[in-house]
């Protein structure tokens, strides 16, 4: 996926629990005056009011690849639809895949990792999750799908913020951050978000894995200034000791070192890790500094599937630091930390 990605049709995956506002966001994207044409792949075909020329009903058919790996599931319907859509190349600029509220985003993402024909024509741009500020906290307790969608997200549109108090908003954000501190989070009413914040994100583009910092550590004015409503950075609840939720079963784990890694140790370790723990690891990303290597190495993964490449030369004066992030369920933290330490060049 790393090469000539610019000619490939970008695909945005739109997830979110029932009633969070996916259709509202979709209609906002389609109706805005951006001069672009979208092909939209939806479920519940014909039952929701979406005004678009190219709209295709999907069945969310997931099947296991015949490679003995139970988490290697792909969306067969998506393979078929993307194949058919490519006959109409030139009639649209991008594709949006809306999943049902109960869908696991992994098979959609994995379709882009394993299918040769899909990879040739299309690239996964980002997983955008719409969350309901009023009900997400409850759903995170009782609906594993909702948790998956938050954990998997590159962009989270926290919607219906006008229906909750500041305290409730802080709580739901803290819960989201307890699961996934890396996604870009946008607070919205009626999904009013700048399109540039949800489209063309390049979240799966190895060349654009520029930084993997938690979203809330960035400068306060970096995000949310598009939305006119009132909030202050201290509402986040992080860094001020106000609230911190550690989700019982879904967490993120970040590793870093400024000592060079031994590629001959690191690569087998990473391969083995995703092979043995891949069902628990939803997403992984890393920027790596190997000893005797002047290039930055970047990788990303979904469950057991990994892709990686040399990205570019380390710049003069740039700190040669390796950083890895895993988001997953019941991650064996100490095992991962110990394994990572053992890959540092001695």
């Amino acid at each position: 996926m790393a090469e000539s990605s610019s000619q490939k049709i970008p695909v945005t995956v739109l997830t979110g629990y029932l009633g969070a506002g996916k259709t509202t966001l979709l209609n906002r994207i389609l109706s805005e005056n951006h001069g672009k044409k979208y092909a939209v792949i939806v479920n519940e075909f014909g039952e929701i009011g979406i005004d678009n020329d190219l709209i295709i009903g999907a069945d969310e058919e997931v099947f296991e690849m015949n490679n003995g790996c139970v988490c290697c599931t792909v969306r067969g319907d998506l393979v078929r639809i993307l194949d058919g859509l490519m006959k109409r190349k030139g009639k649209f600029d991008a594709i949006i895949v809306e999943t049902t509220g109960l869908a696991d985003p992994a098979p959609v993402a994995q379709t882009f990792f394993v299918d040769e024909d899909v990879q040739k024509n299309a690239r996964l741009d980002a997983v955008v999750t719409v969350a309901d500020a009023k009900w997400l906290s409850d759903r995170l307790k009782d609906a594993p799908e909702a948790k998956n969608q938050i954990a998997f997200a590159d962009v989270i549109v926290l919607n219906k913020t006008d229906l909750v108090s500041k305290g409730e908003l802080a709580e739901v954000e803290a819960r989201i951050r307890g699961i996934n501190p890396y996604a870009k989070l946008h607070r919205t009413e009626r999904c009013k978000v700048a399109l540039s914040d949800v489209l063309e994100r390049g979240a799966f583009d190895l060349d654009r894995i520029l930084e993997i910092e938690p979203d809330f550590l960035e400068a306060g004015d970096d995000h949310d200034h598009h939305h006119g409503h009132d909030h202050h950075h201290h509402d986040h609840g992080h860094g001020h000791g106000l609230k911190h939720y550690h989700d019982e079963d879904m967490q993120s784990l970040s590793l870093r070192t400024d000592k060079p890694l031994d590629a001959t140790k690191f690569m087998p370790w990473l391969q083995n890790l995703v092979a043995s723990e891949g069902q628990k690891i939803l997403r992984s990303k890393g920027i790596l500094a190997f000893s005797d290597d002047d290039d930055r190495y970047v990788f990303q993964g979904v469950h057991m599937m990994l892709e990686g490449d040399h990205q570019r030369k380390w710049k003069d004066g740039e700190a040669r630091e390796s950083r890895l992030v895993f988001i997953g369920r019941e991650l064996p933290e100490q095992t991962i930390r110990d394994g990572f330490e053992s890959c540092i060049t001695s």
Binding site: F45, G46, I56, G57, D59, E61, F63, E64, M65, N66, N67, V74, G76, D77, V79, R80, I81, G84, L85, K87, R88, K89, D115, E116, D117
Partner: protein, 342 residues
């Protein structure tokens, strides 16, 4: 083998490239069928270009609009092409260029697959539903998952419907329960052997799967580097030729065990992936198109090659022989096409 010199091969190959009549379709082509004296180049979208195969002038191309969008599937019996589109329409085109609307999906679902029986029956599918139109009223059958491919058996009115985890053999005119041939994975296109003894599917993964119909014994045909998108039976059905590798893969089907326990033959290896194969209708010869634009004619017996089209262009998207085997039509993905008279 001491004199084997790979570099010298290409120069010594027999060539008929100077006998190819170029046809400028000017739009992506996905399949070709002969309708009597005309070659029909089916576009990826909307229209079919009908070319007078006997003539030699460029003026002989006429374009017929059949669909309001992408053309997803086609099948032909030599007198008409039946095709399904993303406009939910199933339409037939004859040699005169006349279009007949056969069916319109009520929900405007994509018509994903179509198959034709020699007695005129048509099978098609939209999503999980398979349809058959014979002499009586239309029959429908809902599959457990989306239909990946359809094929009529050479004898009787029996339809093979490929889907996830296997193939359903459906007898539309009989009350009998359909037969289910199980094999895990996603099955796409499906073909019966001409002698009605074997059934083969091309899977989503780079492999074929086959069954001997008498006892449902499995035949796993794997080892491909890429997905098999093109399958063609040799004249008489002794071999099944396929795309998907850097050579034409030829599975032997002449014995009662088919390819069970046998290695396939690999013909015409190049530094490019075979994208389409089309066996000659009468002789043991096939045409193979490659991802680099090369087209070769290959003799099955000894693998002798004749160059039809040079490399260096878009991948070959379609190949077709006329019924007599005197004409070969081809098209690349970018619409650059041609006709070769033998």
């Amino acid at each position: 083998m001491s004199g084997f010199a790979p570099g010298g091969e290409q120069a010594s190959i027999a060539s008929v490239t100077d006998r190819v009549r170029p046809v400028a379709i000017g739009a992506p082509v996905t399949s070709i069928h002969f309708l009597g004296p005309r070659a029909a180049f089916v576009g990826a979208e909307e229209s079919v270009a009908l070319v007078d195969a006997q003539g030699d002038g460029q003026g002989a191309i006429s374009r017929v609009t059949v669909h309001d969008g992408g053309i997803l599937c086609t099948a032909s019996d030599g007198t008409r092409i039946v095709m399904g589109g993303d406009d939910g329409k199933l339409a037939a085109l004859d040699a005169k260029g006349e279009v007949t609307l056969l069916a319109q999906d009520a929900k405007r679902r994509w018509i994903d697959n179509v198959a034709l029986h020699h007695d005129g029956a048509v099978a098609w599918s939209a999503g999980k539903t398979a349809f058959v139109r014979g002499r009586g009223e239309d029959k429908t059958f809902d599959m457990p998952s989306t239909v990946g491919g359809l094929a009529f058996a050479p004898k009787g009115l029996r339809v093979a419907v490929a889907h996830y985890n296997g193939v359903t053999l459906w007898f539309p005119n009989m009350a009998a329960n359909p037969e289910f041939l199980e094999w895990a994975g996603s099955h796409l296109s499906v073909v019966f052997s001409p002698d009605n003894k074997f059934l083969v599917t091309a899977m989503h993964e780079p492999a074929l799967h086959g069954w001997r119909l008498a006892d449902s014994r499995h035949m796993r045909m794997s080892g491909y580097p890429g997905r098999v998108r093109s399958m063609s039976w040799s004249a008489g059905g002794k071999f099944l030729a396929t795309s998907g590798a850097d050579a034409v893969i030829l599975w032997p089907f002449a014995s009662k065990d088919g390819p069970m326990g046998k290695e396939p033959a690999m013909l015409a290896p190049l530094q490019a992936r075979v994208s389409v194969v089309a066996c000659h209708p009468k002789q043991d010869v096939l045409a193979a198109g490659y991802s680099d634009g090369t087209i070769l004619m290959v003799r099955l017996e000894d693998g002798a090659e004749i160059l039809v089209r040079r490399n260096g262009t878009a991948a070959v998207a379609a190949l077709a022989w006329n019924a007599k085997g005197t004409l070969l039509a081809f098209a690349a993905e970018d619409g650059d096409a041609g006709l070769l008279r033998l």
